[in-house]
Each structure stands twice: as C-alpha cells, then as structure tokens.
C-alpha cells in the first residue's frame, strides 16, 4: 500500500511528496525531515524571496496604468476573476431556470406551441478562456502528431527520404508562429467557408498555427528513434520474416516509443507557448486574447490581470509537461 502510493507519486511527478508519505508511515523522522526540507523547504524559501523582491521592485515602477502591481494586487485580481466567473455561472443558471420555467408554462397552456431555447448570452469568463485555450492547444497538438509521426517514421526508416526532406524540415523548423499566422489566416479564410458551426474559424487558425510550430520536435525525435533502433531487434525481425507492417507495429514503434514521447513532450511545450501568441493575433477566445483585451482595455486593474494570466499560463504549461512526463514513464520499458 505504502510502496504503491510512493510509486504513484513518483510516476505522477509528485515525488516531492514522498517524504510525507514516509513520515506518515512512521519512518525515521529526522532523516525524512531533512529530505523534506531539501525538496520543499528550499523551493519555498526561494519563492518567498522572489515574491518579496517582486513587491519591492514593483512599487518603484510607475507606468501609464499606475504603479506596477505586486503579488498582493495580483492575488486580489485572481480572486476577482474567480468571483466574476462564479457570478456569471450563477447568472447563467438563473437564466436557464427562468427560460425553462417560461417554456413549461407555455407548454402547459398550449402543448403544441413552439418554444425556443436560447443559450446564455453572457461574456466568456477567465475560466472559459482557459478551457478554450486548452482545447485549442490540444487540437493543434493532435494535428501536429498526426502529421509528424508518419513522416517521422518514414524519415527514420529510409535514409533517402531523410536526406530528401531534411533541408525543408530544417528551414521550416525555426519559423516563428507570428510569421505563419497571416498565411494560415488567409488560407483558412479561403478554404474553410462551410461554416457548419463545428469549429470557429479563429479556433482552426490558432490550432493550425500551433501545429505548424510544434510538429518539428516530434518529427525529428521519431525519425531519430526509428533510425537508431537496436540492430539486434531488427535482426530478430528479419529472422522471423515479419511483414513490414508487423515489423513497424511490433518492433520499431515500441522500441522508439520513449523517444517519440520525448518529442511529443517538447512539442506540447512549444505548442502551448505558441498558442498564446497565436490567440493574441487571431482573436481566438482564449488566454492570449484575454491578455490582448486587457492590454487594449488599459484599466488600472489590467496589469494585475495580465500577471494573473502569466502565472496561469506558466502553471498550465508546467502541468502539461508533468502529464507528458507521467505518460512517458508509463511507456518506457527500461
């Protein structure tokens, strides 16, 4: 039970909490406290020091929107944003309750009457923006993986393909999302005219921009992994005369999985970073747009709200990375 809990913590990226479990189970207190101090205490001190320096320094910076907000103001704005979100949710609930009551009343009077249901017209809250951002990055990440994995496998299995594609890959790899965005915007505007309501145009534009920037690490890592599969494994596959498909699925891919996941992990990180920039310019509802809107808004709270967004972006990026680390540990066979 204890061993399982520790293993779970290690796998999920919470290895710093292991000493707490060990303490709870009554292991040597002094030793565990030393570890705990090193794992939690030191980072905690660093954070406190950072917050202190921030608040001191911020007081001395005057901007056109007032003094640069310190940690206290940012914390306050985070609360405000949360309250706004809860407020909107309550309003939405009340709105739907009223609508339902009205509709049932109409139906009682006349069962054949046509009733209409309207979705709540309130504005997107901060939490909604976060959810949209996550959806967009996920979509972009999936598209990137679907493109990068097959091409990566192809590049890895044939030296000729790799030599042929390498210059293109190397040139496209360092291109900034800001350069892709206008092109993607124009192409999507020209191509995606159906407007069937599945996806917003801005959503697709941001997602595709994310894909274009984040597919390279997965592609290159997959290619490298496939090309460097242990020759013994390949020999076994040859002796057993596995079909090319079986060879790929049973031998090459499992052997490459750890490297592929390293690539996916970097891709997701890049994608998340790119997304904010893409959202800012594409006006896709999301954290990027939130930052941009607050910047344009220019109220005295704006800077604090943007800082809340900065911290949120960082925390989510960190969590996404931890998620990929956990997945990587699950598929690693060593």
């Amino acid at each position: 039970m204890k061993a399982k809990a520790i293993q779970l913590l290690n796998y999920s990226g919470f290895s710093w909490a292991v000493p707490i479990v060990k303490l709870a189970s009554g292991e040597d207190i002094k030793q565990q406290f030393t570890i705990l101090w090193k794992r939690i205490g030191m980072p905690f001190c660093a954070i406190v020091l950072f917050l202190f320096l921030w608040s001191v320094a911020a007081k001395n910076v005057q901007t056109s929107l007032g003094v640069l907000p310190g940690p206290v103001m940012v914390y306050h704005q985070a609360n405000v944003l949360w309250q706004e979100h809860m407020g909107e949710r309550t309003k939405a609930r009340e709105f739907y309750a009223r609508q339902d009551a009205r509709n049932t009343a109409i139906l009682q009077q006349n069962p054949d009457a046509t009733i209409k249901t309207v979705s709540y017209p309130g504005k997107a809250t901060y939490i909604d923006q976060i959810i949209t951002s996550l959806k967009t990055v996920f979509m972009g990440f999936v598209i990137a993986s679907l493109i990068a994995l097959p091409i990566g496998i192809l590049c890895g299995s044939s030296k000729n393909v790799m030599t042929a594609l390498n210059p293109i890959i190397q040139v496209l790899k360092p291109v900034s999302p800001l350069a892709w965005l206008p092109i993607v915007t124009m192409v999507i505007s020209a191509v995606y005219t159906t407007n069937n309501g599945w996806f917003e145009k801005s959503f697709i534009i941001s997602a595709l921009t994310v894909s274009l920037c984040s597919l390279w690490p997965t592609l290159l890592n997959t290619a490298m992994g496939v090309a460097s599969v242990n020759t013994d494994y390949i020999n076994v596959a040859r002796v057993l005369q596995l079909s090319p498909f079986k060879k790929t699925t049973k031998v090459v891919l499992p052997a490459t999985l750890p490297l592929i996941f390293t690539g996916l992990r970097i891709s997701l990180g890049v994608g998340w970073m790119v997304l904010i920039a893409a959202e800012m310019l594409a006006q896709n509802p999301g954290l990027g747009k939130f930052v941009w809107d607050e910047f344009q808004n220019g109220s005295s709270d704006s800077l604090a709200r943007i800082m809340v967004a900065v911290i949120t972006i960082g925390l989510i990026g960190f969590m996404l990375d931890q998620l990929m680390v956990a997945l990587q540990r699950l598929v690693s066979f060593e």
Binding site: D232, N235, R238, V239, Q241, L242, K250
Partner: protein
Amino acid sequence: MIATKSRSDLKQNREKNLREMEEMSLREVSLDIKNLTKIYPTPKGEYVVLEDLNLRVREGEFISIIGHSGCGKTTLLTMIAGLNEITGGQILLNEFPITGPGPDRGVIFQSPSLFPWMTALENVLLGVRQVFPGGSKKEQQDICKYYLSKVGLEDSFFKKASDLSQGMQQRVGIARAFALKPKILLLDEPFGMLDSLTRGELQDVLLDVWNREKITAVQITHDVDEAIFLADRVIMMTSGPKAQVGDILKIEFDRPRDRKQILEHVDYYKYREYLIDFLEH
C-alpha cells in the same frame, strides 16, 4: 566411452577429418558451405575476411567453431543466417541455397535480443505465430509454454523481459529459437556475456533441450571448454584475413553428456590441449 588417444593420434586425424568431410554423402549433409568468400570494401581497398571456405555439417550434428576474435567466425554465422550478404561461393541448407534470413534458421544471438516491452511468452510467441500461422491461439501458446518450461522458466511466462536477469533472458532466447522448429540452430557466442556459473547452467539447459530435438547446430565460441562439452566436432578457423577451416577435431564423448564425467575423462584434457595448441600457433 572410447579408448584414450595420444596427441599424435589427434594430429594424424587432421587430414582424415578434412577428407572425411569432403566425402560425406550429400544425403546426410544438412549444411553445405562451398567455396564461401566474404569481402568487405574498406577505404583502403578490399578486405578479404573469408576465402574459399568449405564446411559440411551432418544432419543432427552439433559443431563448434573456434578461432581468434576477428577471424570471421561471426561473419560466417551471420552469412548462414542470411543477415549478411555472400560475396562468393554458396551456402546450401538441405540442398537449397540461402538467399536471405528466415525462421528455418533459429538464431541465438550473443545478447539475448529479447523485446523488453514484451513478456517472456510474447517474445517466443511472436516467432511461433510466424511459423505456425494456422495453429489456434491455444496451440501456439502451448508450444511456447512447452519450450519455456524446458529451459526452466515455467514460473516466468508473464514476466516482462526487462525484469528478467541476463541468464533468464538468454534462456528465453534458447526457447525462442527451438520453438521455431528450425532446420538448423545458429548460436553466436550465446553465453559470452554471462558469468561462468550461469554459463555452465545454460550449457546444460541447451544440451538438455538439444538432446530431445537433435537439430543440426552450429555454434560460434571462443571458449575451448564450451566447444568440447557441446560439440561433436570442433572446427578450428585460421586467423584472418582470408580465413579458412584450419583443422577439425572430433569429440568422441557419448551423449547425453554429463559435465562431471567429461571433466574426469582423460581425453578431455588431450582435446583441450590440442585446441589450445592450435589457437596459440
């Protein structure tokens, strides 16, 4: 057991043994290597590893090939396995020329070469499925389980290969090769990476399974004791470049062999001395 032999006896046998190989009737020959040549291109020109190498192995015979490292033993074996291209000459297996790798030749590699993400059973099953595609799932599994039990792994069917020790991994490697029901077994220094205790254990395991199946086997080794203990004939290769078969030693111990009896046998030391003498000159 045979009557004891003197060293000069063994020496005189050299010509006889080489001639006997040429005179072997084709019907009893399983592996027939004719004028085999292997040339590696290098920046400094061609490097001739093997030149006009001739070797015949009887059906059901176990031979060990010894020679200095770099003499081309492994090149020879990988060519029989079909993993390495033949520059000149021919290798016939049951009268059919070898053109590429195939499961009719069970290879036991120097490193166990198991897929670490599969269980022991799955590793064996992968090959069995290829060789007996018509069998039911249960039949295929039963074959794997039979051979895994024979190498002493009846408790480890479902263990991940990466969780097994080196010795246990090589046991799976042995089971995998036998389970293919190959025409010939090719062993490339299969125990070279193991400690001497485990090596001895695995030699016993190998002989135990082999005694039941009597599959023609060609083993590469640089361990003189291993060569004597396992083989019917020990093939001594000359040092490269242009390596050939230098000498052949018949090991006339009865089978099944018992390690203790063999170690106590007078001939054992004569064989040993003869082989070491060849390697040192």
